[in-house]
């Protein structure tokens, strides 16, 4: 079959052809970029934190009328209160282990700073590596389920305590594998020293954990999302956070026991509905916007594809109706059903082909525009190619029903007056 008669026929209904091609082009441009956004969001949401997230929950509480954390005396009192809480929680029957911690991955309340090879390198200085700090104790690894890959874990002797805003030397730390690789590319981080937050006192790296995400999920944290530093220190303030690992399958029971237990230790504290929450909730909250954006883009893509497919069905049906007699003549002259079917499918392929060529250019243009105005990265070619194939397939599928109806036009139509 030569293309010539198809092209000649297309020229007769230019407007319809151009409209379908335009619609395919626009659809391709939007769907490619929307699917790319969905893909990016899914990648973000699926990042693993490095924690064993099941059976893990967080307790955030605040004392009322607590001693002032700015005085040495106050800090000691606050620390005693914190240790009392920890002891009470650790004795609960459904609790496996508890660690005090200033934040958790995905919690979005973070203490960030910098680490450097040089002493006294101030925070804002260039060449420092950004990191997020976790202040915790020797039960941290087992409570969070973070895997140690080199060196040793904290022991009780490593653990210090300090007022929330105080400055104290940090003799030892555990860092993540990614941070270790950044600081010591040769892979010999354990036993080396680094300087934290512009301090002049060295911090010895005693251990490396496989992976632990920083608390921040905003785009500002993307550059150092895996650079966490763990410091064996309890922070003393008028509030405290405890990470708790329940015994397997006992998450709900352990969570229920927390408020009565802590109130028994000291009723002068704020514990509300939000104070005890499973890690799954922290995760859901952190990625709510990303999941939402993915769903929204998905819904829009679905509507778009349906509208475009329906538009092709509608216009092709119209053409079939218009060319009823012409088809009858072709059939009478010996064209087989399959020839008619193929005619409409090739016609659609030509139109859709022109559409996707423009569509690819539009997709890339839209992507570039989004990159310059919003936080987007360059769209990978496979996305565009998949989009092209999908649009061509949808065109073929949409044209099938009207084309089959056309192929069923009996040759006798040719003899009838219109």
């Amino acid at each position: 079959m030569t293309l010539h008669p198809i092209l000649a026929a297309l020229r007769k209904h230019k407007a319809g052809t151009v409209l379908i091609a335009l619609q395919i082009a626009l659809t391709l441009a939007i769907v490619c970029n929307a699917v790319f956004i969905i893909g990016q969001r899914i990648d973000r949401v699926n990042r693993t934190t490095g924690l064993d997230e099941g059976d893990l929950f967080l307790v955030s509480q605040q004392w009322v009328g607590a001693p002032n954390a700015d005085s040495t005396d106050g800090v000691e009192k606050l620390d005693a209160m914190q240790r009392e809480d920890l002891a009470a929680l650790r004795q609960l029957p459904d609790v496996a282990s508890v660690a005090p911690i200033n934040s958790l991955p995905l919690l979005n309340s973070s203490w960030t700073g910098s680490v450097s090879h040089k002493p006294g390198a101030q925070l804002g200085g260039k060449g420092n590596t950004r990191t997020a700090y976790y202040f915790t104790d020797e039960q941290m690894l087992s409570t969070l389920g973070v895997r140690l890959v080199a060196g040793r874990a904290f022991n009780a002797g490593d653990v210090q305590h300090q007022g929330f805003r105080d400055r104290r030397d940090r003799p030892v730390a555990i860092i993540t594998q990614q941070l270790a690789d950044k600081l010591f590319p040769k892979g010999d981080a354990v036993g080396k020293v680094m300087y934290t937050d512009g301090s002049n006192a060295p911090t010895t790296i005693i251990g490396v954990v496989a992976r632990m995400q920083i608390p921040a999920t905003g785009s500002w944290g993307n550059d150092f999302a895996w650079y966490s530093t763990l410091i064996p220190t309890r922070l003393d303030a008028n509030f405290a956070r405890y990470a708790v690992r329940a015994k397997p399958g006992r998450l709900d029971a352990a969570m229920r026991a927390v408020a009565p237990t802590l109130y028994k230790v000291n009723p002068m504290r704020v514990l509300d509905d939000d104070s005890v929450k499973p890690f799954s909730e922290i995760r859901a909250r952190a990625y709510r916007a990303d999941v939402g954006m993915a769903i929204l883009m998905g819904v829009i893509c679905l509507i778009l594809l349906c509208v475009t497919a329906a538009g092709i069905v509608g216009l092709t049906s119209f053409w079939v109706g218009q060319r009823h007699r012409q088809i009858g003549v072709r059939r009478a002259l010996g064209a087989r059903k399959i020839d008619i079917l193929r005619y409409f499918q090739i016609e659609n392929l030509l139109i859709a082909g022109a559409g996707v060529v423009i569509g690819v250019l539009l997709s890339l243009g839209l992507n570039m525009w989004l990159m310059s105005h919003y936080e987007m990265t360059r769209i990978p070619l496979p996305y565009v190619l998949t989009g092209v194939l999908a649009m061509l397939a949808i065109g073929q599928a949409a044209v099938f029903a009207p084309a089959r109806r056309a192929s069923n036009v009996p040759p006798v139509v040719a003899t009838r007056a219109a």
Binding site: A15, G16, L19, L22, Q23, L26, T27, I30, N33, I37, Q62, V64, G65, N68, A69, D70, Q122, L123, G124, G125, K126, G163, R165, D166, R167, D197, G198, S199, A237, N238, P267, R269, V270, L271, D272, R288, A289, V291, G292, M293, I295, L296, M297, I300, I303, L304, V307, T308, A310, G311, G314, L315, S317, F318, W319, G321, Q322, Y374, E375, A418
Partner: protein, 438 residues
């Protein structure tokens, strides 16, 4: 004549129900997607205080120097304690207030009730008149309360309901962080979105309103710590909250009210003079680099409208565009199928204008039907944005009369625009040719 066209249009639409349904569905979905995302965009990009936003200004002072600047040379977006205090002391604006976010505990007077956590701000007395904050009972506090570090408090209607059952609590005391504060005012419903007076600490939007407002200096004196962001480009040399106050860390929001361009210019000069003084005193080792933006410019600068919201709106508008292109095609098919009818009408003397009127009426009806469907879908869409958007933002999107009218208007106008080309083609039908071929 119009009723005749209406009848013709309805008859024509009924003749091909499939094509009609397709167009109505496309318009309905396209409009609904655009209107739903628009309602969210409208909610987050609205002016929170339209009658006054051009008189409210946010000053920025560069206390970090070149090392702390972002790539575009912007100074920090909050203030250090030293600078905020200096600006308050100089008092060069009509009204001004330094602010910081607090989250103290409140102990209910009734025995047996557990303490609760509230959010709030430590502000100066001028905060209330400056932002036209509405009061249900009482009022804000005076300048002397500020300087005397009075233990007074303004509470929200919500907290007043919780603690005092909604009756006027002016003169009563509230225990905040173990200390008694005298209530001087109870706010009326006031929950501006975005939280424009402290974008730095709230990120713009928050579901929890401020429940308490305390005098700034009183909060500092009782060392009520700040809740929210603290940004430092060097670690404070001293420990504790006092150490933070002596440091160059930024954590204080600031707002000033200035009448007119002249006042803004002189305030700008004042900020530069202040920076120059600090330079001469040796605290800043760089040339003045201050900023003064009015509220709309400030909200824009701080990217208060989340980029996701903008991208969704754009993508939804793209969807509407595709739906319209689709409608152009379908209308074209529909109208040209009736070439015979048009030919007869034209041959019988109908003007082109009559053809236009007839077919645009038909397009308008499709648009109206699509709009009604769009209304239902927009309602469903706005009701379900809570599913897909962060709660604090989704809560702002709502359906109101203007959104409903806009939905209908967009649907009808867009469809009629889409119908222009098909109508033009229909009006070009040659009467003689049609008569001959049929």
């Amino acid at each position: 004549m119009f009723s005749y066209y209406l009848e013709l249009a309805l008859r024509s639409l009924r003749r091909s129900p499939g094509l009609t349904a397709l167009m109505v569905l496309a318009i309905g979905f396209g409009v609904a997607a655009s209107m739903t995302t628009w309602s969210v965009f409208r909610a987050v990009s609205g002016d929170p205080i339209p009658w006054k936003s051009s008189q409210l200004f946010v000053p920025q002072i560069d206390n970090w120097g070149p090392n702390g600047r972002s790539d575009d040379g912007e100074p920090p977006n909050a203030m250090s304690y030293a600078d905020a205090m200096a600006l308050m002391r100089d008092h060069r604006a009509k009204r001004q207030s330094a602010m910081y976010q607090v989250s103290p505990s409140v102990v209910p007077a009734e025995a047996g009730k557990h303490p609760l956590n509230v959010s709030g701000h430590a502000v100066y007395g001028e905060f209330f008149p400056m932002l036209d904050v509405p009061f249900k009972y009482g009022s804000g506090w005076s300048e002397s309360d500020d300087t005397n570090r009075a233990t007074v408090v303004v509470i929200s209607a919500k907290l007043n309901q919780k603690l005092f059952g909604g009756a006027s609590s002016v003169g009563k005391t509230v225990n905040i962080e173990g200390k008694d504060y005298r209530v001087v005012g109870v706010l009326d419903d006031w929950n501006p979105q975005p939280r424009f007076y402290d974008v730095v600490n709230t990120g713009g939007f928050s579901t929890t309103g401020d429940d308490v407002f305390l005098p700034f200096l009183t909060a500092i004196q009782t060392s009520m710590p700040n809740d929210g962001n603290t940004n430092c480009n060097a670690v404070p040399e001293e420990s504790g909250f006092v150490g933070l106050q002596h440091s160059e860390c930024v954590w204080i929001a600031y707002m000033a009210e200035l009448d007119g361009a002249a006042a803004a210019t002189s305030y700008r000069n004042y900020l530069n003079d202040y920076s120059r003084e600090q330079q001469q005193a040796g605290r800043f080792r760089w040339a003045p680099n201050s900023r003064l933006r009015d509220l709309p410019a400030w909200l824009d600068n701080q990217h208060v409208v989340p980029s996701d919201t903008k991208v969704s709106l754009l993508v939804a508008l793209g969807l509407l565009l595709v739906c319209l292109v689709n409608t152009v095609g379908l209308l074209l098919a529909k109208f040209l199928r009736r070439s015979g009818e048009i030919g007869v009408r034209r041959a019988l003397g109908a003007q082109r204008a009559a053809i236009y009127a007839q077919f645009l009426t038909e397009a308008g009806i499709v648009g109206l039907a699509g709009g009604v469907l769009g209304l239902l879908l927009t309602g469903a869409g706005v009701a379900s944005v809570g599913w897909v958007l962060p709660r604090d933002i989704a809560a702002l999107a709502r359906v109101d009369v203007s959104l409903l009218l806009l939905t209908l208007l967009v649907a009808v106008v867009a469809t009629m625009l889409a119908g222009l080309y098909p109508t033009f083609r229909a009006s070009r039908v040659q009467p003689a040719w049609q008569l001959k071929s049929n």
